[in-house]
């Protein structure tokens, strides 16, 4: 009597695959993380055009460096699995061993990911509250950089489809060019005369929504001379894609020379700009602060 054929049991694999993956991951991370931190991080936008932009580069550098070991783990795990566990054409397709719960792995996973997420939340909050990180903070900013009381004010006015800029400390001078003095803390008051725009001064690391009737305050500290790009970052109609121009950070002397030239050109229209909105003047104040309960905007005291 012939016996029933039995399936051959798969050979027992005594290799410690987990240890191999961990070792490979540690080696790869130890090499890749410093390289990314040193060489890739500083190349991440928006550059070093302002103190806030520099801060953003640092933030990106930290996050990219933290992300590198995670990516390395995924890459190692994926590559190891592909190489080690793929079935060859000549091999029969067999069901793998059952997956079982491993409390240690789960605990480790939860602890590591929670730590990383909490660290990033804390780090991001600290960086944001330090000086606003160049973002619009609304009418009542809470992330106030040191010396904000004496910041140089510029009002950014969006309308379909151009930004113009007002300089309260130069008699309300308005220009369609944005000039800023170097090494200066600038307080930007961003608003709109029609729909929602977004003021994005890329190299300065500034982005603030321009909402009609809202004074959105953002801070930026300029550094050395720089030509930067200004774009609208909120889809605002037909010419949204053309709503861009250049801005300039210049020396104090150049800035005052430019302002004096602009003041001469501005003189003819100034009387109309100084009228209150109810008499056909500019529908916004030098610094836009809507009056409580509506009514015309008010000039901020001081």
């Amino acid at each position: 009597m012939a016996s029933e054929p039995t399936a051959a049991a798969p050979p027992v694999d005594s290799t410690n695959h987990g240890l191999r993956v961990v070792v490979a991951w540690l080696v790869l991370s130890a090499i890749a993380t410093p390289l990314v931190a040193i060489y890739v991080g500083p190349l991440i936008p928006p550059g070093n055009g302002s103190v806030q932009a520099q801060g953003q580069v640092f933030d990106n550098q930290v996050m990219t460096s933290l992300m590198t070991p995670v990516l390395c783990l995924m890459a190692v795990f994926f590559a190891y699995g592909l190489i080690k566990f793929h079935a060859r054409r000549s091999e029969a397709v067999l069901d793998g061993p059952p997956l079982r719960n491993d409390a240690r792995v789960q605990l480790l996973w939860i602890v590591i990911t929670s730590t990383m997420v909490l660290f990033l939340a804390g780090f991001g909050t600290y960086e944001l509250l330090k000086d606003g990180a160049g973002g619009g903070q609304g009418p009542n900013p809470i992330a106030l950089p040191a010396g904000h009381q004496s910041a140089f004010q510029v009002q950014v006015i969006g309308q379909q489809w151009q930004f113009t800029y007002r300089y309260p400390s130069f008699g309300g001078l308005e220009s369609n060019e944005l000039y800023l003095p170097e090494n200066t803390l600038v307080e930007l008051h961003v608003t709109s005369l029609d729909v929602i725009h977004s003021f994005w001064a890329y190299e300065l690391g500034v982005k603030a929504d321009a909402n009609p009737g809202v004074d959105n305050v953002a801070y930026v500290t300029t550094k050395g001379p720089l030509t930067f790009h200004v774009r609208c970052a909120e889809l605002c109609g037909l010419w949204h894609g053309y709503m861009y121009n250049n801005g300039y950070v210049v020396s104090d002397a150049q800035f005052h020379s430019w302002a004096a030239q602009q003041m001469r050109l501005y003189a003819s229209i100034k009387p109309f700009m100084d009228k209150p909105a109810s008499q056909g003047g500019a529908p916004y104040a030098l610094s836009y602060f809507p009056a409580p309960g509506g009514g015309p905007p008010q000039v901020r005291a001081g």
Partner: protein, 225 residues
């Protein structure tokens, strides 16, 4: 079907779609295929001179548009006034512009734009008189080329003026204001122009319809070598 063939087909399809989208975007951004009017050039090849005659009308009328009540720019061509707003101009040229405005005032949202800028002398002639600004509330339309820094506001026809033009074609015998100015084109480029007065009556913020449609209150200057 083998996996390799499937992959190849996907790659070919994605590439073809990319090329078609590229052509579409390219066509859109350069407005290739849109009617572009080549403004006649006089002067010398090294110093080209262009005379651009335009008018702004309160309603374009049924002869020139399927949207007869839309406000619009028109340009004077050899075959009369046309509703074309993409204009070919030579580079480094002197452009003499005359605008006949038949529309009434609706006022500028930003009074700052009532000051002529980016043009020769930063002055205009309004009905023959030089001016370095207009009353922002009297503005009817603007001709603005932001990339070239050009902004010129046109004063509107008085509300009580006699013989006002209701819809194009408008003749110079009808109530109008005339604004003249000169600007220089730069090196070759593709520059949008627009009106800054929210003049699209009946649209939200006055900026819909004709203000958002090339061929009415917006266009391009195709500056060519």
């Amino acid at each position: 079907m083998r996996v390799g063939v499937k992959l190849l087909l996907v790659v070919v399809a994605v590439t073809a779609a990319g090329v078609l989208i590229g052509f579409y975007v390219s066509n859109l951004t350069t407005l290739a295929g849109s009617p572009a009017y080549s403004v006649p050039v006089s002067g010398t090849p090294s110093h080209p001179v262009v005379y651009l005659k335009i008018q702004t009308v309160p309603a374009v009328g049924p002869k020139l548009s399927q949207n007869p009540d839309w406000v619009s720019y028109l340009i004077l061509t050899k075959s009369g006034w046309k509703r074309e707003t993409v204009w070919n101009l030579p580079a480094n040229a002197t452009v003499h512009v005359t605008d006949y405005n038949f529309d009434s005032a609706s006022g500028l949202r930003n009074p700052y734009l009532a000051r002529p800028q980016g043009i020769v002398g930063n002055r205009v002639l309004i009905d023959g008189k030089p001016a370095d600004h207009i009353d922002p509330n009297s503005a009817s339309h603007t001709f603005a080329v932001p990339a070239l820094g050009i902004i010129v506001a046109f004063p509107g026809v008085a509300a009580n003026a006699k013989n006002q033009c209701g819809a194009a074609p408008c003749t110079l015998a009808m109530a109008h204001t005339t604004t003249q100015f000169v600007f220089h084109t730069t090196t070759p480029g593709h520059f949008r122009w627009q009106c800054f007065v929210p003049c699209a009556a009946g649209w939200i913020f006055g900026n819909g319809g004709p203000m958002q449609t090339i061929g009415y209150m917006d266009g391009f200057l195709n500056v060519k070598a």
